[in-house]
Protein backbone atom coordinates (compact mmCIF):
# COMPACT_ATOMS: atom_id res chain seq x y z
CA UNK A 1 0.00 0.00 0.00
CA UNK A 2 1.41 3.38 -1.02
CA UNK A 3 0.38 5.95 1.61
CA UNK A 4 0.82 8.96 -0.68
CA UNK A 5 -1.47 7.44 -3.28
CA UNK A 6 -4.03 6.35 -0.68
CA UNK A 7 -4.20 9.88 0.75
CA UNK A 8 -4.59 11.29 -2.78
CA UNK A 9 -7.50 8.93 -3.48
CA UNK A 10 -9.20 9.65 -0.14
CA UNK A 11 -9.02 13.37 -0.86
CA UNK A 12 -10.57 12.77 -4.27
CA UNK A 13 -13.37 10.76 -2.70
CA UNK A 14 -14.11 13.47 -0.13
CA UNK A 15 -14.24 15.99 -2.95
CA UNK A 16 -17.28 14.22 -4.34
CA UNK A 17 -19.80 14.49 -1.47
CA UNK A 18 -22.72 13.96 -3.83
CA UNK A 19 -21.53 10.44 -4.56
CA UNK A 20 -21.00 9.65 -0.86
CA UNK A 21 -24.41 11.08 0.05
CA UNK A 22 -26.09 9.08 -2.69
CA UNK A 23 -24.43 5.89 -1.45
CA UNK A 24 -25.64 6.65 2.09
CA UNK A 25 -29.15 7.91 1.45
CA UNK A 26 -30.62 5.19 -0.78
CA UNK A 27 -30.16 2.24 1.63
CA UNK A 28 -31.34 4.35 4.56
CA UNK A 29 -34.44 5.48 2.65
CA UNK A 30 -35.17 1.92 1.49
CA UNK A 31 -34.80 0.65 5.05
CA UNK A 32 -37.25 3.24 6.40
CA UNK A 33 -39.71 2.48 3.60
CA UNK A 34 -39.54 -1.29 4.01
CA UNK A 35 -39.68 -1.25 7.80
CA UNK A 36 -42.73 1.00 7.56
CA UNK A 37 -44.44 -1.24 4.98
CA UNK A 38 -43.39 -4.71 6.08
CA UNK A 39 -42.11 -4.34 9.67
CA UNK A 40 -43.91 -7.34 11.13
CA UNK A 41 -42.88 -9.93 13.68
CA UNK A 42 -41.47 -12.51 11.25
CA UNK A 43 -39.56 -9.94 9.15
CA UNK A 44 -38.94 -7.27 11.74
CA UNK A 45 -36.94 -4.06 11.49
CA UNK A 46 -33.86 -5.84 12.84
CA UNK A 47 -33.96 -8.27 9.92
CA UNK A 48 -34.57 -5.50 7.39
CA UNK A 49 -31.72 -3.52 8.90
CA UNK A 50 -29.37 -6.42 8.13
CA UNK A 51 -30.60 -6.76 4.56
CA UNK A 52 -30.46 -3.07 3.68
CA UNK A 53 -27.22 -2.31 5.50
CA UNK A 54 -25.77 -5.21 3.49
CA UNK A 55 -27.21 -3.59 0.35
CA UNK A 56 -25.59 -0.26 1.25
CA UNK A 57 -22.21 -1.86 1.96
CA UNK A 58 -22.34 -3.91 -1.25
CA UNK A 59 -23.36 -0.98 -3.39
CA UNK A 60 -20.83 1.54 -2.04
CA UNK A 61 -17.86 -0.84 -2.24
CA UNK A 62 -18.92 -2.05 -5.68
CA UNK A 63 -19.64 1.38 -7.19
CA UNK A 64 -16.30 2.81 -6.04
CA UNK A 65 -14.42 0.04 -7.82
CA UNK A 66 -16.57 0.13 -10.94
CA UNK A 67 -16.01 3.87 -11.33
CA UNK A 68 -12.33 3.17 -12.04
CA UNK A 69 -13.50 2.38 -15.60
CA UNK A 70 -13.85 6.14 -16.11
CA UNK A 71 -10.30 7.02 -15.07
CA UNK A 72 -8.98 4.02 -16.96
CA UNK A 73 -10.73 5.43 -20.05
CA UNK A 74 -9.16 8.81 -19.41
CA UNK A 75 -5.70 7.19 -19.45
CA UNK A 76 -4.97 7.74 -15.77
CA UNK A 77 -3.92 4.14 -15.15
CA UNK A 78 -1.58 4.43 -18.12
CA UNK A 79 -0.08 7.58 -16.65
CA UNK A 80 0.45 5.79 -13.33
CA UNK A 81 2.21 2.91 -15.10
CA UNK A 82 4.95 5.43 -15.88
CA UNK A 83 5.65 5.92 -12.16
CA UNK A 84 7.07 3.55 -9.54
CA UNK A 85 3.55 2.95 -8.16
CA UNK A 86 2.96 -0.78 -8.53
CA UNK A 87 -0.25 -2.26 -9.89
CA UNK A 88 -0.84 -3.77 -6.47
CA UNK A 89 -0.35 -0.37 -4.85
CA UNK A 90 -2.95 1.21 -7.11
CA UNK A 91 -5.48 -1.58 -6.61
CA UNK A 92 -4.94 -1.67 -2.85
CA UNK A 93 -5.58 2.08 -2.59
CA UNK A 94 -8.72 1.83 -4.71
CA UNK A 95 -9.94 -1.16 -2.71
CA UNK A 96 -9.28 0.69 0.53
CA UNK A 97 -11.31 3.69 -0.66
CA UNK A 98 -14.13 1.30 -1.60
CA UNK A 99 -14.04 -0.14 1.91
CA UNK A 100 -14.06 3.32 3.50
CA UNK A 101 -17.02 4.30 1.32
CA UNK A 102 -18.88 1.19 2.52
CA UNK A 103 -18.85 2.19 6.17
CA UNK A 104 -21.23 5.23 6.17
CA UNK A 105 -24.19 3.34 4.62
CA UNK A 106 -23.80 0.50 7.15
CA UNK A 107 -23.64 2.95 10.05
CA UNK A 108 -26.46 5.03 8.56
CA UNK A 109 -28.89 2.12 8.28
CA UNK A 110 -27.94 0.90 11.77
CA UNK A 111 -28.51 4.39 13.21
CA UNK A 112 -31.88 4.71 11.45
CA UNK A 113 -32.88 1.29 12.81
CA UNK A 114 -31.89 2.21 16.36
CA UNK A 115 -33.26 5.75 16.43
CA UNK A 116 -36.30 5.63 14.17
CA UNK A 117 -37.39 1.99 14.17
CA UNK A 118 -36.69 1.03 17.75
CA UNK A 119 -34.31 -1.82 17.02
CA UNK A 120 -32.55 -2.86 20.22
CA UNK A 121 -29.42 -5.03 20.25
CA UNK A 122 -26.78 -5.63 22.90
CA UNK A 123 -23.58 -3.64 22.31
CA UNK A 124 -21.86 -6.79 21.08
CA UNK A 125 -24.66 -7.35 18.59
CA UNK A 126 -24.31 -3.87 17.07
CA UNK A 127 -20.55 -4.26 16.85
CA UNK A 128 -20.85 -7.70 15.22
CA UNK A 129 -23.43 -6.43 12.72
CA UNK A 130 -21.56 -3.27 11.68
CA UNK A 131 -18.03 -4.68 11.68
CA UNK A 132 -19.15 -7.99 10.18
CA UNK A 133 -20.86 -6.22 7.28
CA UNK A 134 -17.89 -3.97 6.83
CA UNK A 135 -15.41 -6.83 6.63
CA UNK A 136 -17.85 -8.69 4.39
CA UNK A 137 -17.74 -5.85 1.87
CA UNK A 138 -14.28 -6.97 0.66
CA UNK A 139 -15.46 -9.24 -2.18
CA UNK A 140 -17.75 -6.46 -3.45
CA UNK A 141 -14.91 -3.93 -3.55
CA UNK A 142 -13.00 -6.53 -5.62
CA UNK A 143 -15.99 -7.18 -7.89
CA UNK A 144 -16.18 -3.43 -8.50
CA UNK A 145 -12.49 -3.28 -9.44
CA UNK A 146 -12.96 -6.19 -11.84
CA UNK A 147 -15.89 -4.46 -13.55
CA UNK A 148 -13.84 -1.26 -13.64
CA UNK A 149 -11.07 -3.09 -15.52
CA UNK A 150 -13.39 -4.84 -17.96
CA UNK A 151 -15.92 -2.14 -18.78
CA UNK A 152 -15.49 1.08 -20.76
CA UNK A 153 -16.59 4.49 -19.52
CA UNK A 154 -19.48 4.22 -21.99
CA UNK A 155 -20.88 0.86 -20.87
CA UNK A 156 -19.83 0.67 -17.24
CA UNK A 157 -23.15 1.99 -15.94
CA UNK A 158 -25.03 -0.79 -17.69
CA UNK A 159 -22.82 -3.46 -16.10
CA UNK A 160 -22.95 -1.69 -12.78
CA UNK A 161 -26.74 -1.28 -12.71
CA UNK A 162 -27.38 -4.81 -13.97
CA UNK A 163 -25.11 -6.52 -11.46
CA UNK A 164 -26.39 -4.35 -8.65
CA UNK A 165 -30.03 -5.20 -9.31
CA UNK A 166 -29.49 -8.90 -9.91
CA UNK A 167 -27.23 -9.44 -6.91
CA UNK A 168 -29.43 -7.36 -4.59
CA UNK A 169 -32.76 -8.91 -5.63
CA UNK A 170 -31.63 -12.50 -6.08
CA UNK A 171 -29.54 -12.31 -2.92
CA UNK A 172 -32.69 -11.48 -0.97
CA UNK A 173 -31.68 -7.98 0.09
CA UNK A 174 -34.99 -6.39 -0.96
CA UNK A 175 -37.34 -9.33 -0.46
CA UNK A 176 -36.32 -12.01 2.08
CA UNK A 177 -34.98 -15.13 0.36
CA UNK A 178 -37.16 -17.21 2.71
CA UNK A 179 -40.18 -16.09 0.69
CA UNK A 180 -38.56 -17.06 -2.66
CA UNK A 181 -39.71 -20.07 -4.71
CA UNK A 182 -37.42 -23.07 -4.10
CA UNK A 183 -35.33 -22.69 -7.26
CA UNK A 184 -34.65 -19.01 -6.67
CA UNK A 185 -33.86 -19.66 -3.01
CA UNK A 186 -31.18 -22.12 -4.13
CA UNK A 187 -29.72 -19.48 -6.44
CA UNK A 188 -29.72 -16.96 -3.59
CA UNK A 189 -27.59 -19.26 -1.46
CA UNK A 190 -24.87 -19.24 -4.12
CA UNK A 191 -24.63 -15.45 -4.09
CA UNK A 192 -22.27 -13.38 -1.92
CA UNK A 193 -24.97 -10.79 -1.24
CA UNK A 194 -27.14 -13.42 0.50
CA UNK A 195 -24.29 -14.37 2.84
CA UNK A 196 -23.34 -10.78 3.52
CA UNK A 197 -26.85 -10.10 4.81
CA UNK A 198 -26.76 -13.36 6.78
CA UNK A 199 -23.81 -12.02 8.79
CA UNK A 200 -25.95 -9.12 9.94
CA UNK A 201 -29.02 -11.31 10.49
CA UNK A 202 -26.92 -13.56 12.72
CA UNK A 203 -25.60 -10.58 14.68
CA UNK A 204 -29.19 -9.36 15.14
CA UNK A 205 -30.14 -12.63 16.83
CA UNK A 206 -31.22 -14.74 13.84
CA UNK A 207 -30.48 -18.43 13.50
CA UNK A 208 -27.63 -18.21 11.00
CA UNK A 209 -24.65 -20.32 9.98
CA UNK A 210 -22.09 -17.54 10.34
CA UNK A 211 -19.19 -19.89 9.65
CA UNK A 212 -20.66 -20.74 6.22
CA UNK A 213 -21.12 -17.02 5.50
CA UNK A 214 -17.48 -16.28 6.31
CA UNK A 215 -16.34 -19.22 4.19
CA UNK A 216 -18.46 -18.24 1.15
CA UNK A 217 -17.42 -14.57 1.29
CA UNK A 218 -13.77 -15.60 1.76
CA UNK A 219 -13.91 -17.85 -1.30
CA UNK A 220 -15.52 -15.12 -3.40
CA UNK A 221 -12.78 -12.74 -2.25
CA UNK A 222 -10.01 -15.12 -3.28
CA UNK A 223 -11.48 -15.83 -6.71
CA UNK A 224 -12.22 -12.16 -7.42
CA UNK A 225 -8.80 -11.02 -6.20
CA UNK A 226 -7.17 -13.52 -8.56
CA UNK A 227 -9.36 -12.36 -11.46
CA UNK A 228 -8.52 -8.69 -10.80
CA UNK A 229 -4.80 -9.47 -10.61
CA UNK A 230 -4.81 -11.48 -13.85
CA UNK A 231 -6.84 -8.87 -15.69
CA UNK A 232 -4.67 -6.00 -14.48
CA UNK A 233 -1.44 -7.76 -15.41
CA UNK A 234 -2.62 -8.35 -18.98
CA UNK A 235 -3.68 -4.77 -19.45
CA UNK A 236 -1.29 -2.15 -20.81
CA UNK A 237 -3.46 0.56 -19.33
CA UNK A 238 -4.61 1.53 -22.79
CA UNK A 239 -8.03 3.16 -22.62
Amino acid sequence: MNPAYLVFEIRRALRDPKFLLFELSLPVALFLLESHLFGRDDVGPAYLMGSLAAFGAFRAAFDTGARTAVERGAGWQRQLRLTPLTRGGYLAAKGAVGMLTALPPIAGVAAAAAVLSGVRLPAGGWAAAVLGLWAGAVPFALLGLLVGQLATPQNVQAYQGGLLLVLAFAGGLFIPAASFPAALATVAKALPTYWLAEIAHGAAGGDVRTGTAVLVLGLYSLVLAAAVAVRFRRDAGRP
Binding site: A4, F8, R12, G75, Q79, A236
Partner: protein, 248 residues
Protein backbone atom coordinates in the same frame (compact mmCIF):
# COMPACT_ATOMS: atom_id res chain seq x y z
CA UNK B 1 27.00 13.93 -33.85
CA UNK B 2 27.87 10.31 -33.54
CA UNK B 3 27.72 7.27 -35.74
CA UNK B 4 27.80 4.74 -32.92
CA UNK B 5 24.29 3.68 -33.77
CA UNK B 6 25.78 1.77 -36.68
CA UNK B 7 27.50 -0.59 -34.21
CA UNK B 8 26.48 -4.22 -34.23
CA UNK B 9 23.43 -4.49 -31.95
CA UNK B 10 24.84 -7.68 -30.43
CA UNK B 11 27.78 -5.73 -28.99
CA UNK B 12 25.72 -2.88 -27.62
CA UNK B 13 25.00 -3.48 -24.00
CA UNK B 14 25.47 -1.70 -20.72
CA UNK B 15 24.64 1.68 -19.27
CA UNK B 16 26.32 3.82 -21.97
CA UNK B 17 23.49 2.88 -24.35
CA UNK B 18 20.31 4.76 -23.56
CA UNK B 19 18.42 2.32 -25.73
CA UNK B 20 19.61 -1.07 -26.98
CA UNK B 21 16.78 -2.99 -28.62
CA UNK B 22 17.30 -6.08 -30.77
CA UNK B 23 14.96 -8.07 -32.97
CA UNK B 24 11.74 -6.60 -31.58
CA UNK B 25 8.48 -8.11 -32.80
CA UNK B 26 4.95 -7.55 -31.59
CA UNK B 27 1.82 -8.89 -33.17
CA UNK B 28 -1.79 -7.97 -32.39
CA UNK B 29 -4.06 -10.64 -33.81
CA UNK B 30 -3.05 -10.90 -37.45
CA UNK B 31 -1.34 -7.51 -37.54
CA UNK B 32 2.44 -7.31 -37.20
CA UNK B 33 2.62 -3.98 -35.42
CA UNK B 34 6.40 -4.19 -35.01
CA UNK B 35 8.13 -6.67 -37.26
CA UNK B 36 11.83 -6.95 -36.55
CA UNK B 37 13.23 -3.66 -35.24
CA UNK B 38 16.77 -3.03 -33.98
CA UNK B 39 17.35 0.34 -32.34
CA UNK B 40 20.50 1.60 -30.67
CA UNK B 41 20.64 5.05 -29.13
CA UNK B 42 23.82 6.20 -27.39
CA UNK B 43 23.62 8.62 -24.47
CA UNK B 44 23.09 12.22 -25.44
CA UNK B 45 21.54 11.66 -28.86
CA UNK B 46 18.26 13.27 -29.93
CA UNK B 47 16.37 10.88 -32.18
CA UNK B 48 13.16 11.48 -34.12
CA UNK B 49 10.92 8.54 -34.89
CA UNK B 50 8.97 9.27 -38.05
CA UNK B 51 6.34 7.33 -39.90
CA UNK B 52 2.69 7.23 -40.87
CA UNK B 53 -0.10 6.11 -38.54
CA UNK B 54 0.09 2.37 -38.10
CA UNK B 55 3.83 2.26 -38.81
CA UNK B 56 4.43 0.78 -35.36
CA UNK B 57 5.85 3.90 -33.64
CA UNK B 58 3.50 3.79 -30.66
CA UNK B 59 3.90 0.04 -30.20
CA UNK B 60 7.68 0.47 -30.29
CA UNK B 61 7.45 3.24 -27.69
CA UNK B 62 5.20 1.08 -25.50
CA UNK B 63 7.75 -1.72 -25.60
CA UNK B 64 10.67 0.63 -24.87
CA UNK B 65 8.85 1.92 -21.80
CA UNK B 66 7.89 -1.48 -20.45
CA UNK B 67 4.12 -1.13 -20.93
CA UNK B 68 3.99 -3.88 -23.53
CA UNK B 69 6.16 -6.97 -23.60
CA UNK B 70 7.60 -7.83 -27.02
CA UNK B 71 6.72 -11.21 -28.50
CA UNK B 72 10.35 -11.55 -29.56
CA UNK B 73 13.55 -9.62 -29.02
CA UNK B 74 15.01 -7.85 -26.03
CA UNK B 75 15.44 -4.33 -24.77
CA UNK B 76 17.89 -2.66 -22.44
CA UNK B 77 17.47 0.90 -21.24
CA UNK B 78 20.79 2.06 -19.71
CA UNK B 79 21.53 -1.63 -19.36
CA UNK B 80 18.34 -2.34 -17.40
CA UNK B 81 14.91 -3.81 -18.07
CA UNK B 82 12.58 -1.09 -19.50
CA UNK B 83 10.01 -1.33 -16.72
CA UNK B 84 12.74 -1.14 -14.07
CA UNK B 85 14.28 1.86 -15.84
CA UNK B 86 10.95 3.69 -15.79
CA UNK B 87 10.37 2.86 -12.12
CA UNK B 88 13.87 3.98 -11.17
CA UNK B 89 13.20 7.37 -12.74
CA UNK B 90 15.93 7.18 -15.39
CA UNK B 91 13.28 7.41 -18.13
CA UNK B 92 10.63 10.08 -18.42
CA UNK B 93 7.75 9.17 -20.69
CA UNK B 94 5.01 11.08 -22.40
CA UNK B 95 2.53 8.76 -24.04
CA UNK B 96 -0.47 9.15 -26.24
CA UNK B 97 -3.65 8.07 -24.49
CA UNK B 98 -2.12 8.64 -21.09
CA UNK B 99 -4.30 11.06 -19.27
CA UNK B 100 -5.12 13.19 -16.33
CA UNK B 101 -7.95 13.20 -13.84
CA UNK B 102 -10.59 15.84 -14.34
CA UNK B 103 -11.27 16.33 -10.64
CA UNK B 104 -7.77 17.30 -9.48
CA UNK B 105 -5.59 20.30 -10.25
CA UNK B 106 -2.41 20.28 -12.31
CA UNK B 107 -0.35 21.04 -9.19
CA UNK B 108 -1.96 18.21 -7.23
CA UNK B 109 -1.38 15.63 -9.92
CA UNK B 110 2.27 16.63 -10.40
CA UNK B 111 2.89 16.66 -6.65
CA UNK B 112 1.38 13.17 -6.48
CA UNK B 113 3.61 11.92 -9.30
CA UNK B 114 6.63 13.50 -7.58
CA UNK B 115 5.72 11.78 -4.31
CA UNK B 116 5.67 8.41 -6.08
CA UNK B 117 9.18 8.78 -7.53
CA UNK B 118 12.32 8.17 -5.48
CA UNK B 119 14.44 11.20 -6.36
CA UNK B 120 12.11 13.60 -8.17
CA UNK B 121 12.31 17.23 -9.11
CA UNK B 122 9.96 19.31 -7.01
CA UNK B 123 6.63 19.55 -8.85
CA UNK B 124 7.09 23.33 -9.04
CA UNK B 125 10.41 22.91 -10.84
CA UNK B 126 8.92 20.44 -13.33
CA UNK B 127 6.11 22.93 -14.01
CA UNK B 128 8.65 25.73 -14.49
CA UNK B 129 10.69 23.69 -16.96
CA UNK B 130 7.56 22.78 -18.92
CA UNK B 131 6.41 26.40 -18.79
CA UNK B 132 3.10 25.72 -17.05
CA UNK B 133 3.51 27.40 -13.62
CA UNK B 134 0.43 29.46 -14.35
CA UNK B 135 -1.70 26.31 -14.66
CA UNK B 136 -0.87 24.89 -11.21
CA UNK B 137 -4.28 25.67 -9.71
CA UNK B 138 -6.31 24.67 -12.75
CA UNK B 139 -8.36 21.48 -12.87
CA UNK B 140 -7.55 19.23 -15.80
CA UNK B 141 -11.11 19.38 -17.10
CA UNK B 142 -10.50 23.04 -17.90
CA UNK B 143 -7.31 22.65 -19.94
CA UNK B 144 -6.97 22.92 -23.71
CA UNK B 145 -5.53 20.00 -25.66
CA UNK B 146 -2.16 21.73 -25.95
CA UNK B 147 -2.10 22.57 -22.23
CA UNK B 148 -2.81 18.94 -21.38
CA UNK B 149 0.17 17.94 -23.49
CA UNK B 150 2.36 20.37 -21.57
CA UNK B 151 1.15 18.95 -18.24
CA UNK B 152 2.00 15.44 -19.41
CA UNK B 153 5.38 16.76 -20.51
CA UNK B 154 5.91 18.16 -17.00
CA UNK B 155 4.95 14.73 -15.62
CA UNK B 156 7.66 13.18 -17.81
CA UNK B 157 10.20 15.66 -16.38
CA UNK B 158 9.31 14.97 -12.74
CA UNK B 159 11.73 12.02 -12.26
CA UNK B 160 14.54 14.22 -13.70
CA UNK B 161 15.26 11.50 -16.25
CA UNK B 162 18.36 10.88 -18.37
CA UNK B 163 16.18 9.64 -21.25
CA UNK B 164 12.97 11.27 -22.44
CA UNK B 165 10.61 9.20 -24.57
CA UNK B 166 7.89 11.34 -26.10
CA UNK B 167 5.14 9.96 -28.31
CA UNK B 168 3.87 12.78 -30.51
CA UNK B 169 4.54 15.45 -27.89
CA UNK B 170 3.19 18.32 -30.00
CA UNK B 171 -0.04 16.68 -31.19
CA UNK B 172 -2.96 18.99 -30.36
CA UNK B 173 -0.65 22.00 -30.04
CA UNK B 174 -1.01 25.09 -32.19
CA UNK B 175 1.99 26.68 -33.93
CA UNK B 176 2.88 28.90 -30.96
CA UNK B 177 2.52 25.99 -28.56
CA UNK B 178 4.83 23.88 -30.66
CA UNK B 179 7.45 26.63 -30.83
CA UNK B 180 7.35 27.14 -27.04
CA UNK B 181 7.49 23.41 -26.44
CA UNK B 182 10.63 23.00 -28.55
CA UNK B 183 12.26 26.02 -26.96
CA UNK B 184 11.76 24.33 -23.57
CA UNK B 185 13.06 21.04 -24.96
CA UNK B 186 16.16 22.65 -26.42
CA UNK B 187 17.27 24.05 -23.07
CA UNK B 188 16.66 20.63 -21.49
CA UNK B 189 18.71 18.87 -24.14
CA UNK B 190 21.69 21.14 -23.61
CA UNK B 191 22.20 19.23 -20.39
CA UNK B 192 23.14 16.17 -22.47
CA UNK B 193 19.83 14.39 -22.16
CA UNK B 194 18.92 11.61 -24.52
CA UNK B 195 15.61 12.11 -26.30
CA UNK B 196 13.51 9.83 -28.48
CA UNK B 197 10.44 11.51 -29.90
CA UNK B 198 7.84 10.22 -32.31
CA UNK B 199 6.32 12.81 -34.59
CA UNK B 200 4.26 13.39 -37.69
CA UNK B 201 6.00 16.70 -38.35
CA UNK B 202 8.93 16.32 -40.70
CA UNK B 203 10.15 19.83 -39.92
CA UNK B 204 10.35 18.99 -36.20
CA UNK B 205 12.60 16.06 -36.99
CA UNK B 206 14.82 18.21 -39.21
CA UNK B 207 15.01 21.08 -36.74
CA UNK B 208 15.56 19.26 -33.47
CA UNK B 209 16.89 15.74 -34.06
CA UNK B 210 20.46 14.53 -34.53
CA UNK B 211 19.14 11.43 -36.16
CA UNK B 212 16.00 10.19 -37.85
CA UNK B 213 14.52 6.71 -37.68
CA UNK B 214 11.88 6.30 -40.36
CA UNK B 215 9.39 3.51 -39.74
CA UNK B 216 6.90 1.89 -42.07
CA UNK B 217 4.80 -1.26 -41.68
CA UNK B 218 6.50 -2.27 -38.46
CA UNK B 219 10.06 -2.01 -39.81
CA UNK B 220 12.80 0.60 -39.89
CA UNK B 221 12.79 1.99 -43.43
CA UNK B 222 15.70 4.40 -42.93
CA UNK B 223 17.99 5.29 -40.03
CA UNK B 224 20.73 7.85 -39.88
CA UNK B 225 21.76 11.47 -39.31
CA UNK B 226 19.12 13.88 -40.57
CA UNK B 227 21.29 15.18 -43.41
CA UNK B 228 22.20 11.70 -44.56
CA UNK B 229 18.66 10.32 -44.55
CA UNK B 230 17.37 13.51 -46.14
CA UNK B 231 19.92 13.16 -48.95
CA UNK B 232 18.40 9.78 -49.66
CA UNK B 233 15.09 11.52 -50.16
CA UNK B 234 13.57 11.84 -46.68
CA UNK B 235 10.97 14.27 -47.92
CA UNK B 236 9.97 12.05 -50.73
CA UNK B 237 10.08 8.89 -48.63
CA UNK B 238 8.04 10.48 -45.90
CA UNK B 239 5.46 11.93 -48.23
CA UNK B 240 5.10 8.58 -49.94
CA UNK B 241 4.70 6.79 -46.60
CA UNK B 242 2.28 9.32 -45.20
CA UNK B 243 0.28 10.04 -48.31
CA UNK B 244 -3.32 10.57 -47.37
CA UNK B 245 -2.46 11.94 -43.94
CA UNK B 246 -0.40 14.96 -44.86
CA UNK B 247 -2.88 17.15 -43.02
CA UNK B 248 -1.86 15.78 -39.61
Amino acid sequence: MTTRHTADPEDATGPEWAVAARGLRKRYGGVRAVDGVDLLIPRGEVVALLGPNGAGKSTLVEMLTGLVRPDEGDIEIFGADPGAAVRSGSVGVMLQEAGLLDDVTVGEVLRLIASLHRAPLPAVEAMRRAGIESLAGRRSARLSGGQRQRVRFAAALVPDPDLLVLDEPTAAMDVDGRREFWAAMRSLCEAGRTVLFATHYLEEAEAYADRVVLMNAGRVAADGPVAEVARGGLDEAFVRLTSGEATR
